[in-house]
């Protein structure tokens, strides 16, 4: 019934073994609760993330939207004192259990952060980092992966002449697209984006949004944003978080035109938050 994540040691590459019986959604969350120490940050979250869709998570600051996103690749654990209960499955695999190696999960679920965080290495090395970690040694294969990932991230033409220069010579927007290319290089099923454009200017934001639109046929995307226009522009479905709870989750067009909950209506019309 389930799909299993396996590490194929012969190729030392991670793969997802898809079972024909496995059905969408990619992520299923049931009754998720999370505490930072004693602070109850997520309350009874039920949410599905569908394959090859862009799911936007919106809500005011401190509503738990970033926390939820970081639970999906278990980055939330890097802060100490976190208690989690409930169920989160990724392609049918329970990811909160002890039996799930986080490295395996994260090789299939990429993440893009609020501030662009390329490594202090060359552009090439940034993109090749993930594949190298997962055992790709062949230079020719790495070259192909790097070019392919940069092309998908619409960055290739801008950087092809300076691949071996520091990533910090790029503009903020280019850096963020490089971070997306870095994710794409490990061929993930899902990319989690945590307010990826909040540190960028409007032109760079536009380019990142274009990029999201162009890769969503290949990869599932969950994006946290405080920008409601952005959510309505790029997402297929939107979930509205408030005080650690999900108020409403629906098709983006439906949620923005005819929200069922009064609080959603107030938020998307800028009456609070």
């Amino acid at each position: 019934m389930t799909t299993t994540l396996v590490r194929n040691d012969k190729e030392t590459q991670f793969r997802v073994m898809k079972n024909e019986n496995w059905q969408k959604p990619v992520y299923e969350t049931n009754g998720l609760n999370l505490w930072y120490g004693t602070a109850h940050a997520l309350k009874n979250i039920d949410l599905s993330i569908n394959e090859k869709e862009v799911t936007a998570i919106i809500g005011p600051s401190g509503c738990g939207k970033s926390t939820y996103l970081k639970t999906l690749n278990r980055m939330v654990e890097t802060v100490g004192g976190v208690t989690i209960s409930g169920n989160v499955t990724f392609m049918g695999n329970n990811i909160l259990g002890k039996s799930m190696p986080v490295e395996l999960l994260r090789s299939k679920v990429g993440m893009v952060f609020q501030k662009p965080n390329p490594f202090p290495k060359s552009i090439y090395e940034n993109v090749a980092f993930g594949p190298k970690i997962h055992g790709v040694r062949n230079k020719a294969i790495l070259d192909i992966i790097v070019e392919d990932s940069l092309r998908k991230a619409a960055l290739w033409d801008e950087v092809k002449d300076r691949l071996h220069k520091s990533a910090y010579g790029l503009s903020g927007g280019q850096q963020q697209r490089l971070c997306i290319a870095r994710c794409l290089a490990v061929d993930p099923e899902v990319i989690l984006m945590d307010e990826p454009t909040s540190a960028l200017d409007p032109v760079s934001t536009h380019k990142v949004e274009e990029l999201i639109r162009s890769i969503k046929n290949d990869v599932t995307i969950a994006i946290v944003t405080h920008n409601m226009q952005q959510a309505s522009r790029i997402s297929d479905r939107t979930a509205f978080f408030l005080n650690g709870e999900i108020v409403e989750c629906d098709r983006t067009s439906t949620l923005f035109s005819t929200p069922t909950d009064e609080r959603t209506d107030d938020y998307i019309n800028g009456r609070f938050g």
Partner: protein, 312 residues
């Protein structure tokens, strides 16, 4: 309108006087500080001047190329004294090399553990202990080498002499450990957390993140710590005087007695070489050479720190 009382007038006068006094003192402060600063600068110049002056005198006695390229160091020979510095230089390099081979890997391992793995609680206990190591007087390290490390090594290497380069080098390596740990740990800890997050999010383990992201990002700080520690090992005196012996040796043997530049200076300074003799001037020449080495090392460390800074 209320008139100002005489007593109040007096008080105002006092306040103004006090403020003026304060102002006068405030104007004086920069001059006082400048005086103290000049003293420090003057002391530096004084030392370098003395060193240079006596070194020049030495080279009126001994040919400079005989000194720099000579392979025999026998200043106390009555019949045929020779002042070839290479044996002392090799002695110093032996000690420095062994010390680096011991101190750098151990120091880096320690720094990586403290910065990447240790919980704050463990860090709080371990760091002071390592810093305690930095507070041990080098004379204590010296007899630790002589009375503990040498006998211990002799059980493994029977032909090891009582005074030898090996145990002195090992103990100098332990001595420079805290310096490497502390500076490297600072460099590693100041690598932004966002790099680690980026690496973890790609599925790297903690170790892969430490080795492939954090250490490379901290390279300049780590390299500077290694160079400073090397310079410290080159200048180390007490440990080598006590444990390495005082026989200038122009060979690559580590089990026998050697003499370093520093321990030669100690030998002469604590002996009865008369003022104005060639031996007397020779310690300045050796001292100058030592100074040149450590000075260049420190400059190199500074250069690496600024030049090879990873920009982020």
């Amino acid at each position: 309108m209320s008139s100002i009382q005489p007593s109040e007038k007096a008080r105002t006068r006092d306040i103004i006087a006090a403020a003026k006094k304060k102002e006068r003192f405030g104007k004086l402060v920069p001059y006082l500080l400048l005086a103290v600063t000049s003293l420090t600068v003057l002391a530096t110049f004084g030392i370098v001047y003395t060193l240079l002056k006596e070194t020049f005198t030495f080279f009126t006695h001994i040919n400079i190329s005989d000194f720099v390229f000579g392979t025999e160091w026998a200043p106390f020979s009555n019949a045929d004294p020779s002042f070839g510095v290479l044996p002392l230089l090799i002695g110093t390099l032996k000690i420095a090399l062994i010390a680096i081979l011991i101190g750098v890997p151990a120091g880096l391992a320690c720094a990586i553990f403290l910065s990447e793995y240790a919980s704050p609680k463990v860090k709080k206990i371990v760091k002071p202990i390592i810093e305690l190591l930095a507070g041990i007087p080098t004379i204590v390290y010296g007899f630790f080498a002589l009375t503990f490390v040498t006998p211990l090594l002799q059980t493994i290497i029977p032909q090891l002499k009582l005074f030898n380069a090996l145990s002195a080098g090992i103990v100098v390596g332990i001595m420079i450990l805290p310096m490497i740990v502390s500076l490297s740990e600072d460099a590693l800890s100041s690598v932004p957390a966002s790099f680690r997050d980026g690496s973890y999010a790609l599925g790297s383990t903690k170790f892969e993140t430490a080795i492939r992201v954090v250490v490379p990002a901290a390279t300049s700080g780590i390299a500077a710590s290694i160079i400073l520690a090397t310079s410290r090992a080159i200048g180390e005196t007490m440990i080598v005087s006590l444990a390495a012996g005082s026989t200038p040796a122009f060979n690559l043997d580590l089990t026998g007695s050697i003499q370093t530049m520093t321990s030669y200076i100690v030998q002469v300074a604590t002996g009865d070489a008369g003022y104005g003799t060639t031996i007397y001037y020779s310690i300045y020449a050796v001292g100058f050479m030592l100074f040149l080495f450590t000075f260049l090392m420190n400059r190199a460390a500074l250069y690496i720190k600024t030049k090879f800074r990873e920009e982020y």
